[in-house]
Amino acid sequence: MKKLINDPANYVDEMLDGLCAAHPELVHVGNDRRAIARSRTMPLGKVGVVSGGGSGHLPLFTGYVGEGLLDACAIGNVFEGPTINSCQDAIAAANGGAGVLCLFGNYGGDKMNFEMAGEFAAMEGIETRTVLGTDDIASAGPNETAKRRGVAGLIFAYKAAGAKAAAGGDLDAVAAAAQKAVDRTRTIGIALSSCQIPGAAGPNFTIADDEIEMGMGIHGEPGIWRKPIRPVDELVDEMMGLLLAERPQDARRVAVLVNSLGATPFEELFIIYRRVAKVLDEAGIAIGQRLTGPYVTSMEMGGASISLCYLDEEIEPLLAAPAQCPFWQVG
């Protein structure tokens, strides 16, 4: 797979340098240059919201650092969790004296490193809470949601937590908002083509020219089935069926994210969005917020995911509150 890069060993550092150069509102923090924060200093008394994860998913994770979203973010090598140092750096940058929420995807390395960093933070008197993104319904059944992977829907939790923190919520309230957003968000993805980790000998997976995989993870982890490609309306209907099967009882309104995994163009996302809106309409569910674009990617992977965040009176205003980061502006 061809890439416009230099030495793969410098991929992440050069990417972060470019991100900060292109968006001067973001700065490096810490000594290992693998944590990003807002260039304005952390407001005293505000709860910090941090995230972290492996590289290769831009705009996730670092791209969501901004007003009303994340205060800081730790970033690892491609598809590897951030190091303990980076997690510590991010937590320190987001410390305004009111505690820090660590909000990230349900992956082993990320969990271990944030946990260790949280232990160090505690020694320094910084209180932390952890909320894990677990929105990928393809990765485990509805009765073991705690096992699920975190994928594109994580950004709804960012938004909810960021808005709650901006509104002056305390650490418990911010964590509760994030957890509620996670609990009310479901995602399923479909993959068409693979990506390759810079420097790797080959692509992360192979898939036939006429095949797609339903439910594949954002690192190429296996999904539910692999079959010949079909008209996208049929695929959307199947995906929406799975998402709606798990809707909460009170589901009346949703926020929708139709997300490109990387190579899938806007044109196809809008064709998908059109069908998603139709299915929701038929199900009697109104759309409160609409996002269509590359929000959580796997480098050049081809495919798309659909996320639904079931809104209630608490979550909807949090998602609608003003926010501003390089890749997402609200209000």
Partner: protein, 210 residues
Amino acid sequence: MAFTAHDLAVALKRANARMETLTDELNAADAKLGDGDTGSMLARLIATFAAVDIEAQPDLGAAFMALAKAGAASTGSSLGTLVITAMMTAGKETAGQAEIGWDRLGPIIGKVRDAAMMRGKAELGAKTIIDGLDALARALDRKSNPEALAKAAVAAMDDVLAEFRDRPCTMGRARMFADRSVGLDDPGMLALAELVRAVTKGAHQAGPPS
């Protein structure tokens, strides 16, 4: 005769050399149900270890801690973090000691296993590297002859891979595909086994490291 920072450095060099071919094998094993990076990550981590100058380190504990520190700055992957945890644990166990008797290897690996279980919130039998560490600790227990240790380690690795191959995995990325993991080696356990083979094979050829 005892185990020193020099022996550790030699083992790391052997492991590092083995990664040249092992990288792709491990990536492929991880790609089956995971994200396909076990090999690349481990290659980078072990190269980082091999580049740390521990040869002359008089304190074995400090040598392990230097490795842990270098490793902790280089990866945050699950297996990487467990390996770093292992180095920290070994560092604590050997702190202030210039050398340890070969008979300490088994118990120290036992401690490493326990620390990794805590860190990874994993249980025995979940088919991860931890089951490999457990088998290794038990095989080395109460042995002090380097050649006997090497032999026992390799046999234990063969056995534990075989024992778990047809069992389901319940930790790590492959946990969602417990059924599909039957018949496949766990990438972390496979990595441990291959590296044990590589390190001890060198030991056989060159005689026990002095």
